[in-house]
């Protein structure tokens, strides 16, 4: 199978997965006790009837399902239950770029510092650089963002007054959220890259490269990093998923108007369509990102076979 065929095959494979996810989300939401219009005060029957008709809630379940599936496949996630005048698509288009920007910033932050620390630690194994970075990394994976965020707010926002504690207008607003979201991945990536490089350092082919009389620079960049950093590439897929998740709490801590905030509100308010729509949308994003990561892997490792 060529790379192109493989890509096409994977793209086709997305369809059944998305159908499954949509189906799962739909029936899960329908299994929920209590509907979106259950309020403390019952609505007048006339109005409720109109609303139910408008959202086709009186059709048989299977018809509702078919209609929803069809519209999702067309890219239409339907109207929001809680914001009657807006569609789910509109809300996503408006708020996802905010979450995306935050996520990308955190990822870049994590990759830059994680890779630097990991590479240096591995090349200086068992020396002070290694102990320092790995010590920090161990603390990094142990301080969850819900603790780190408020801590940073307290120190740099409230006590020192250096950085804004909330909002999303000027670039400086992004500093604390980026660190809060990215810190744990700095730790993970540094540990993974260190382990990967140490593994490669023990390989015969690195000794061969040195025996060829290559300068240290070429040995490191051409022979060690290539293989040593592959595990980091495999980590990127799960990391994307986890960053989107982490983005929810970071958006909450710093009052950032991203999709994560909308999702939590939707879940708390039983806004079925928005909650489902967000999950389906995020699932699609992650599947595509994973496809990109897998393709990247095939470029980096010639031994990979396409299945």
């Amino acid at each position: 199978m060529s790379r192109l065929q493989y890509t096409l095959w994977r793209l086709i494979g997305i369809v059944p997965v998305m159908v499954l996810i949509t189906t799962f989300a739909f029936f899960l939401m329908r299994a929920a006790p209590g509907g979106p219009f259950d309020k403390e005060k019952a609505l007048p029957p006339e109005i409720e009837k109109n609303i139910r008709a408008k959202y086709h809630l009186d059709d048989p379940l299977i018809v509702q399902y078919g209609r929803y599936l069809f519209s999702v496949m067309r890219g239409d996630l339907g109207p929001s239950f809680k914001y009657p005048n807006r569609t789910v698509n509109e809300i996503i288009v408006e708020s996802f770029p905010v979450s995306l920007k935050l996520g990308l910033l955190a990822m870049c932050f994590a990759l830059f510092f994680g890779l630097s620390a990991g590479v240096i630690s591995a090349l200086k194994q068992n020396r002070w650089q290694d102990y320092t970075f790995m010590g920090f990394a161990l603390f990094g994976v142990s301080v969850p963002n819900i603790v780190l965020g408020p801590l940073l707010v307290l120190i740099f926002g409230l006590w020192l007054g250096w950085l804004p504690v909330a909002g999303w207008e000027s670039p400086v607003d992004a500093v604390l959220p980026t660190i809060t979201l990215g810190a744990i991945y700095v730790a993970y990536i540094s540990r993974i890259s260190r382990a990967g490089i140490l593994e490669v350092l023990g390989q015969d082919y690195v000794t061969v490269a040195r025996a060829k009389g290559l300068p240290q620079r070429i040995v490191v960049f051409r022979h060690i990093l290539r293989g040593g950093l592959l595990p980091v590439v495999s980590f990127l897929g799960p990391a994307f998923a986890s960053i989107l998740t982490g983005s929810i709490v970071v958006e909450k801590i710093f009052h950032i108007p991203g999709l994560g905030q909308h999702f939590v509100q939707a879940a708390l308010n039983r806004d079925y369509t928005l909650a489902m729509g967000t999950v389906i949308f995020y699932a699609l994003i992650l599947i595509l990102l994973n496809l990109v990561v897998d393709l990247l892997y095939t470029f980096l490792d010639p031994r990979v076979r396409y299945e």
């Binding site: 060829k212 009389g213 290559l214 300068p215 070429i218 293989g227 031994r303």
Partner: protein, 337 residues
């Protein structure tokens, strides 16, 4: 060359040799203690000659060669004593930049396992040319052409096509040929081959050895062949040293070692090898026991616990060098025939 050795004073022979290793000690510092991997090893190699280093695994053969290349495992390995002279220059006093100039260019190395010695992420062509580009300071195209010639020389068909292959697309024998081509790219004066055939099928082994021999004639190289296979030594080497537990037990010409062995360990090794000529009724005699733990402080002769001739005298100190004939020395205080 060997005939010169017979009558020249020792100092002059040393000046003439390509490589002189003099009382080399290399230790590995592990978390659990110090491994005396190479302990007082001396030998010399004349231009165009082939030296075999024989011994069980863990006897310090590979570490001796890694010391020559300055590639002891870092940060644990260290050369603690002795001298290594290559072309009348002390290698251990060279800067790391100067060592880079010698590695790959003056001294080539072929490793034991061709499956793990090639970088799986790079094409054969890249791995062949990268050293040549650095050492000869030539353009990539020129190196590429030279690499194709070299692949031809080591007997790889469709060399041009193979340049673009990745290691996993080649068989074990092919990979070892590539490894040899890599080591020979810069026409080194010395080739160190560390068990170049032990990971290969027997039929391929013979091909690779023949290849090494013919390339040696063409390129006038000296070779150090590390092996535990006495048959290979007999077929390829002029000089042999037998190592055990980091020390040289016996050194001499192939004929000396095979027909007039003096050290009980050498004799044991020879008796444990099956051969066609030997009396079939006579059973093979393995050497009982295991090599000693090199982290322990070994008193006297390290072979003593396994030696049939060993007695209390062997525990006193490591035996003095004794000379059987010119160029044939051994380290044993007993007279064994």
């Amino acid at each position: 060359m060997r005939s010169i050795q017979k009558w020249m004073p020792v100092e002059l022979v040393m000046a003439d040799s390509l490589l002189v290793v003099d009382r080399l000690k290399s230790y590995i510092y592990t978390r659990y203690g110090v491994v005396r991997a190479v302990n007082d090893v001396s030998f010399e190699l004349a231009e165009g000659d082939t030296l075999g280093i024989v011994g069980e695994s863990g006897s310090g053969k590979s570490m001796t060669c890694m010391s020559i290349l300055g590639l002891l495992p870092q940060p644990f390995g260290k050369m603690v004593a002795g001298r290594i002279r290559f072309r009348n220059e002390d290698l251990h006093t060279q800067s790391s930049r100067q060592m880079q100039q010698i590695r790959g260019k003056e001294i080539g190395m072929v490793f034991q396992d061709p499956m793990t010695s090639l970088n799986p992420f790079l094409t054969v062509g890249t791995q062949l040319t990268e050293g040549y580009v650095v050492h000869q300071q030539v353009a990539k195209q020129e190196a590429w052409q030279h690499a194709i010639d070299m692949l031809d020389k080591v007997g790889i068909p469709e060399a041009e096509k193979r340049m673009l292959s990745y290691p996993h697309e080649l068989s074990g024998g092919m990979r070892q040929r590539v490894m040899i081509a890599i080591a020979l790219m810069c026409s080194p004066a010395l080739l160190i081959a560390d068990e170049p055939t032990s990971a290969l099928d027997v039929t391929i082994q013979a091909q690779i050895l023949e290849l090494l021999k013919s390339l040696q004639r063409q390129m006038k190289m000296s070779i150090i062949l590390i092996t535990h296979d006495l048959g290979i030594v007999a077929a390829t080497c002029k000089q042999v040293i037998v190592m055990y537990a980091g020390r040289v037990m016996e050194a001499g010409s192939v004929d000396d070692i095979f027909y007039r062995p003096k050290h009980p360990y050498t004799i044991g090794l020879l008796q444990s090898v099956p051969s066609l000529e030997a009396d079939r009724e006579k059973p093979l005699q393995p050497i009982d026991g295991n090599p000693p733990d090199l982290m322990a402080d070994i008193q006297g002769c390290p072979f003593h616990p396994r030696c049939a001739y060993g007695d209390a005298a062997c525990l006193q100190e490591f035996p003095q060098q004794r000379t059987a004939t010119t160029g044939h020395s051994f380290y044993c205080c007993k007279d064994v025939e």
